[in-house]
């Protein structure tokens, strides 16, 4: 299987402090890859670097063989990478429909079939088409954020903590949706603090600690690993 995304020696520093200290990662096409780690380990920074929102100090990030470092976020989106940002960040004073249309901003073709697709994934959004996004519940906002990202027809969708602040039942829904999206052939790069859920659905997983990758393997392997269990899954020996 070919790698859709290859990251080599990613170093990012904020004002002299290195948040990410040389990460190597590969994301195989069509899989769900997850990056787990504690707060401040550098997960979000890694995603933001890929999306072009943060300029890395040094790195090579290749998407389908094309170098992304130094490119603008709009170029990166146009290549087929979309970020679902942390904390959902829907546009609160715009309607659900407007939010979805902004997701497709860089496309000039007909949106009808894609809107139908998103509404078929999230029937709840169709009911609330004319409602302001800010009045939606947390789970609905997360659905909208995912739907908005899908409107750009991504090949790789990156999600930053989609389960953050959501009720357990809603989290389950979101993870089901992630698997559905992946089933359509879209590669998923997922960041999670909810390591248990993330590892269960991931084909491949990385553990990041203070800016460095400390472990990698399949989701099942890491789920069975004693150290992981202790550190991230809350099980005692």
């Amino acid at each position: 299987m070919t790698n859709i995304l290859e990251i080599k020696n990613l170093v990012v520093s904020y004002g002299g402090i290195e948040a990410v200290k040389g990460i190597d990662m590969t994301v195989p096409e069509g899989e769900i890859v997850t990056l787990i780690g504690a707060n401040g380990a550098g997960k979000s920074t890694t995603l933001k670097s890929i999306a072009g929102l943060v300029k890395p100090k040094e790195a090579s990030i290749q998407f389908k063989g094309q170098e992304l470092v130094g490119k603008t976020p709009d170029f990166i989106v146009s290549q087929g990478i979309t970020l679902v940002p942390e904390g959902r960040r829907v546009f609160p004073n715009l309607t659900v429909l407007e939010n979805l249309k902004i997701g497709a901003y860089l496309r000039k073709d007909n949106l009808k079939s894609d809107l139908d697709y998103v509404f078929s994934l999230f029937p709840r959004l169709l009911e609330r088409e004319w409602q302001m996004a800010g009045t939606l519940s947390g789970g609905e906002q997360q659905m909208l954020a995912v739907g908005r990202a899908l409107m750009s027809k991504p090949k790789l969708i990156m999600m930053d903590e989609p389960s953050l602040g959501l009720a357990p039942l809603v989290v389950k829904d979101i993870f089901n949706i992630i698997q559905t999206i992946n089933g359509e052939g879209i590669t998923v790069l997922l960041i999670e603090q909810n390591a248990n859920m993330a590892l269960k659905i991931a084909h491949k997983a990385y553990v990041i600690e203070t800016g460095k990758i400390t472990m990698e393997g399949t989701g099942a392997e890491l789920l069975a690993n004693e150290e992981i269990k202790e550190a991230y899954l809350g099980k005692t020996k």
Binding site: T72, P73, I76, V77, F91, N93, L94, I102, G103, S152
Partner: protein, 365 residues
């Protein structure tokens, strides 16, 4: 009532309203004396409506809090005046310093002058936009405020004497060719802004206002769109300034001082940041209140033999300011909030009166 029928009825109502406005304007023009206050209020209201909408495009829709509107209006008004004052009356206007040689024989017709006013303002916006738009919120406001003052001071300075007539200002600016002219120009300009805001660019502007990071993550180029909004807003502010020059007939650099920007900002805030129709409605209301309805407060009045206290020149502005404070305290989102005017309030009432139709509507759901 179905959605389709509703939108058809909305269009019908809008057309009727437009015809109504046209008839009112026609009657005002036909049957009122030339000095009647309503004429002034309507014309000035139309000009302020255009300037307020252009400011709202930047402040309310793109979320860039600019205080440079008066500066761009000054640029527009002066550009217009310099090129359209009749060549024959120039010696009279520039009687003290004389006209610059390159300017002596250049003369533009009114419409070309308006376009030039907008273009010069837009070019200036493009030049200062690149550095200034890097600033965020209050710093951006301060920078644009500073720009407006710089424009005003340069325009009134001695090295510019032979172009702008320095501190003496310019007069003999062509008047409106007819009563309807400001309504027509404002109407066209506002329509263009409305179409822009309905396009995908308008959505991108709103996305930037709502959340810059999310907008960027969706592939919206922040710098490009902010620049675009700034230039377009300045273009129409320039045209608004030119219309103001035509209305006044004479301008000096103090015509476009910071108070003017505040007045426009007031209109935008009272109408609702992010509502075009709000800006238009509030432009007419504010101008009417300030120039007309509250005028009686400026004259000392006797009721019988009782001398009403406080009523003297300037008291009008005190009352006006108190009204503003009340509006800001109790209607913080302005008249329209972020919504646009629509006919739903009538359509919904029609729906209720027509039980068969509303029952049918429910059956469809």
């Amino acid at each position: 009532m179905t959605e389709k029928k509703k939108s058809q009825l909305s269009i019908l109502f809008s057309v009727i309203a437009l015809i109504g406005i046209a008839i009112v304007l026609f009657c005002v023009n036909r049957f009122t004396p030339p000095t009647f206050m309503l004429r002034t209020v309507l014309q000035l209201g139309a000009i302020y409506a255009l300037v307020a909408v252009s400011m709202n495009l930047l402040n309310g829709f793109t979320g860039l809090f600019s205080l440079g509107q008066a500066g761009f209006m000054a640029v527009g008004a002066y550009t217009f005046a310099i090129f359209t004052i009749p060549v024959s009356s120039r010696p009279g206007v520039y009687y003290l310093y004389g006209v610059a040689d390159w300017l002596k024989n250049i003369h533009l017709p009114i419409l070309a002058g308006l376009l030039a006013a907008g273009l010069v303002a837009a070019v200036l916006a493009a030049l200062i936009g690149a550095p200034v738009l890097r600033l965020k919120s209050d710093y951006f406001a301060i920078a644009t405020l500073g720009f407006a003052e710089i424009v005003r001071i340069i325009v009134g300075s001695t090295p510019m004497n032979r172009v702008t007539n320095g501190s003496l200002g310019l007069k003999m600016i062509p008047k409106f060719p007819n009563f309807y002219f400001p309504f027509l120009i404002s109407g066209i300009c506002i329509l263009i802004i409305a179409l822009l805001l309905r396009s995908s660019y308008g959505r991108a502007f709103k996305a930037i206002r709502e959340d810059e990071i999310a907008a960027e993550a969706m592939g919206i180029n922040l710098a490009k769109h902010k620049q675009m909004s700034f230039i377009i807003s300045s273009f129409f502010a320039g045209i608004g300034g030119a219309l103001m020059g035509m209305f006044l007939g004479a301008i000096t650099s103090t015509t476009f001082n910071i108070t003017l920007t505040y007045n426009i900002l007031l209109i935008v805030v009272i109408g609702g940041m992010g509502s075009m129709t709000g800006s238009i409605i509030s432009a007419f209301l504010v101008i009417a209140a300030r120039e007309w309805w509250l005028r009686f407060l400026d004259q000392s009045t006797y009721i019988g033999s009782f001398h009403v206290p406080l009523l003297k020149t300037g008291f009008r502005m005190v009352v006006f300011s108190i009204i503003l404070m009340i509006v800001v305290l109790f209607f913080r989102k302005g008249i329209m909030g972020m919504k646009e005017f629509n006919w739903n309030f009538i359509l919904n009432r029609l729906d209720k009166k027509d039980p068969a139709a509303s029952a049918g509507g429910e059956g469809n759901e």
